[in-house]
């Protein structure tokens, strides 16, 4: 008898413990007053939790709420969001980049926030218009940054009688001339371009692709969200990149194994490459400042084929539709992206201001990059299924750079794949 009772009790206890292991998600209740924020880790020292914890303290006290942060790695960022939302454990406030917005908006997961903005807000934010997705405001920019620049080693350029490149023709000519055996041992030890194609996911499209399509006068998607990479601009961009490696042999042999950041650090910073494409960000600025090789360098955002244009990031804080108190969540993102919150954040990250009333704490290189270039920096165009297209594109470009397909074949293949996915918004098809 006692054994049966004991056995039954143990069975019930086991089931209770199993049920207790399930999380309750990030959803706040009226009694708890907690807001869960998911963001990537962006602080230079990796101390995002401490920094944001201090920044939001006044907000927490004023609104009697606890703000909980969770920081996610870039590699698994979209996967974390997708699985979290699917399990009902998603955040109340999120950080989305433009590639993510369309699918999330189309699925009704992100809340438009125009109703929470005052006229004062609209006048103060610098990039509200640029950040609109399908003509609506779904988020507030936390940062504008990582404009893609062409960095060049002035000493190498001087040694080959060249000046700062301005066009694609300049880049190819300089890359060919700079690739040389400088110590006479029969092996190439200086390269024209340090560009890495070994990243395991599509992040390096930021430096290796988008800007070139823009400079060729094109885009990746049309207004309806269809992939248009089989058109001349994208084919021209693909051909340009293909030729730099496979025709001019201006890239180091291990360019297919290393990421673009690794190539920047291992070849450009060490003075072994004449040029490198990369983001104007604090990490690269610190690498350049601390380089052992003593060479003069410069950078330009104004590379041109048909037009001058370069990609920049405009990531935004958003209110997720599952947030129980959307007004409070909107208030939080206004605080985080406003002059007070973002001012403190940008003191740490040395980012550029996103509102007129915010003090400018941008590091000198970023200030220099953005000044006078407001017309040529642009974020990506939003499109449904963009993340899938970009992942496919990245793998296809790797195949192309390895010589397994021509630029035309690659762009045709990517376009066919992209347009085989549903690209029409649900509201368009209803």
């Amino acid at each position: 008898m006692w054994k049966r009772i004991l056995a039954l009790s143990l069975a019930v206890l086991m089931m209770i413990m199993t049920a207790a292991c399930a999380g309750d998600g990030g959803q706040q209740t009226a009694e708890d007053q907690e807001i869960l924020v998911w963001m990537p880790s962006l602080a230079p020292d990796g101390n995002d939790k401490e920094v944001w914890g201090e920044i939001v303290k006044p907000f927490e006290e004023e609104n009697n709420v606890k703000v909980n942060f969770e920081f996610i790695s870039w590699k698994d960022y979209e996967a974390k969001y997708a699985s979290g939302i699917q399990m009902g454990n998603g955040p109340d406030v999120g950080y989305l980049y433009v590639e993510m917005f369309p699918d999330y908006i189309d699925a009704g997961l992100v809340e438009p926030i125009e109703d929470y903005l005052t006229q004062e807000d609209r006048d103060d934010y610098l990039y509200l218009e640029a950040g609109k997705i399908w003509d609506r405001v779904y988020g507030l920019p936390l940062s504008i940054g990582n404009p893609v620049a062409l960095f060049y080693n002035q000493d190498i350029l001087d040694s080959i009688g060249e000046s700062a490149p301005e066009t694609w023709e300049d880049v190819r000519r300089i890359a060919q001339k700079a690739t040389a055996d400088t110590d006479g041992d029969g092996k190439i030890d200086q390269w024209g371009l340090a560009q890495g194609w070994g990243q395991s996911f599509s992040q390096d499209l930021n430096w290796n692709w988008y800007s070139f399509v823009f400079q060729a006068g094109g885009d990746l998607f049309d207004e309806k969200g269809r992939v248009i990479m089989d058109q001349e601009p994208a084919v021209e961009a693909a051909t340009f990149l293909y030729d730099l490696k496979n025709t001019d042999h201006a890239l180091p042999e291990d360019c297919m194994a290393q990421t673009n950041s690794e190539m920047f650090a291992n070849y450009f910073i060490t003075g072994k490459a004449a040029m490198s494409f990369g983001g104007v960000n604090l990490a690269n600025a610190q690498l350049l400042e601390g380089k052992d090789s003593d060479f003069e360098y410069g950078f330009t955002l104004k590379l041109k084929n048909k037009i001058e244009s370069t990609r920049c990031g405009l990531d935004q804080m958003v209110v997720m539709s599952a947030a129980p108190d959307k007004e409070l969540a909107a208030k939080l993102i206004k605080y985080m992206t406003g002059p007070v919150g973002n001012g403190q954040w940008h003191q740490v990250t040395q980012g550029a201001p996103v509102s007129r009333s915010e003090e400018n704490h941008a590091f000198p290189m970023l200030k220099e990059a953005l000044e006078g270039n407001e017309d040529i920096v642009r974020p990506l165009k939003p499109a449904l299924r963009a993340p899938q297209v970009y992942e496919y594109l990245w793998k296809a470009l790797q195949e192309m750079m390895n010589g397994n397909s021509t630029p035309e074949e690659t762009m045709k293949d990517v376009t066919e794949y992209g347009n085989s996915l549903p690209y029409e918004r649900q509201s368009d098809s209803e």
């Binding site: 049966r4 291990d254 992942e391």
Partner: protein
């Protein structure tokens, strides 16, 4: 004396929690996976039934075909190599009995198998890609370089397979070593008295007696091979292009990067069928074998 036999239900109560766990956390997801594979299911949108559409699309998906054939290449390359290496390593260690060198080799070989494969992948990537790495320095002595091994479509997959063999050999070596240690010394003495050398002892005593162990290790290796994910994902992500893409990495990308959950589940179900067939085959081969070491 008449005594009614009382049926005791206690035992069922004791195993009930585990049975429920297996039902909810194993059979349940497998069943759900089969259901969701029959439709279009995204993380962001509700399920829509489409029948066998995912399966027919899979077999015309050139990238899935490439991933599956890479997986078969992986299995056919890694499993024999690690099995043979593990066996001969065990033979050598067993022959050295309790020498310090044998003990050291045994420990060093086993260490990678207890380390996280993710960590191993990250470290190997750094060691192969970094121009300053010891691997590059060593190969440089012979005029070679490791820095593009993971970036070349011809060497990316073989390089990863080699790493996998080196990581797994120690683990399987322990199985062989334990079994070899149990072979009575009298067998070897009798063989030597009959004039048998090392080769005959190996082929006519050790291998026949270790047949069940070979079967078990080969099938464990096959099952592990079809589930390859961590090492590939952390080093190349399946690249460059599709050169090192495996079935489970492709499944992961479909599920978590592309949110095509139904499609990913169809891939998973195909792998479940393959692994189930292998397990069934293993059980049939081992079924009538008693412990025939003695």
């Amino acid at each position: 004396m008449n005594r009614k036999h009382k049926y005791k239900w206690n035992g069922y109560l004791y195993i009930l929690p585990m049975c429920l766990s297996v039902l909810f956390f194993w059979y349940g997801p497998v069943l759900l996976s089969a259901v969701f594979s029959l439709g279009s299911y995204s993380a962001l949108k509700p399920f829509q039934f489409t029948g066998m559409g995912n399966y027919t699309a899979l077999f015309s998906d050139k990238y899935f075909i490439r991933a599956l054939s890479n997986t078969f290449i992986w299995v056919l390359g890694v499993v024999p190599a690690q099995t043979v290496l593990a066996f001969f390593s065990a033979c050598w260690i067993a022959g050295k009995k309790s020498s310090f060198l044998a003990s050291l080799v045994r420990k060093v070989m086993f260490i990678p198998s207890v380390a996280s494969v993710t960590v191993i992948g990250i470290v190997c990537r750094l060691m192969l890609n970094s121009p300053q790495s010891p691997v590059n320095a060593l190969l440089g002595i012979f005029g070679g370089s490791a820095s593009n091994l993971l970036g070349s479509e011809t060497t990316a997959l073989p390089t990863l397979m080699l790493i996998e063999v080196l990581v797994n050999t120690g683990y399987y070596m322990i199985f062989f070593l334990t079994s070899l240690m149990e072979i009575p010394e009298s067998y070897y003495e009798a063989a030597r008295m009959d004039g048998a050398g090392a080769f005959r002892i190996c082929t006519q005593i050790q291998i026949p007696l270790l047949k069940p162990v070979f079967i078990m290790i080969i099938f464990l290796g096959l099952i592990q091979g079809f589930r390859t994910f961590d090492l590939v994902y952390t080093t190349t992500g399946g690249g460059p292009g599709q050169a090192s893409m495996t079935a489970v990495v492709y499944l992961y990308m479909q599920n978590f990067k592309f949110s095509q959950i139904g499609y990913a589940m169809a891939i998973g179900n195909i792998l479940v069928v393959i692994v189930a067939l292998l397990t069934f085959l293993q059980r049939r081969l081992l079924k009538n074998k008693e412990n025939s070491l003695y």
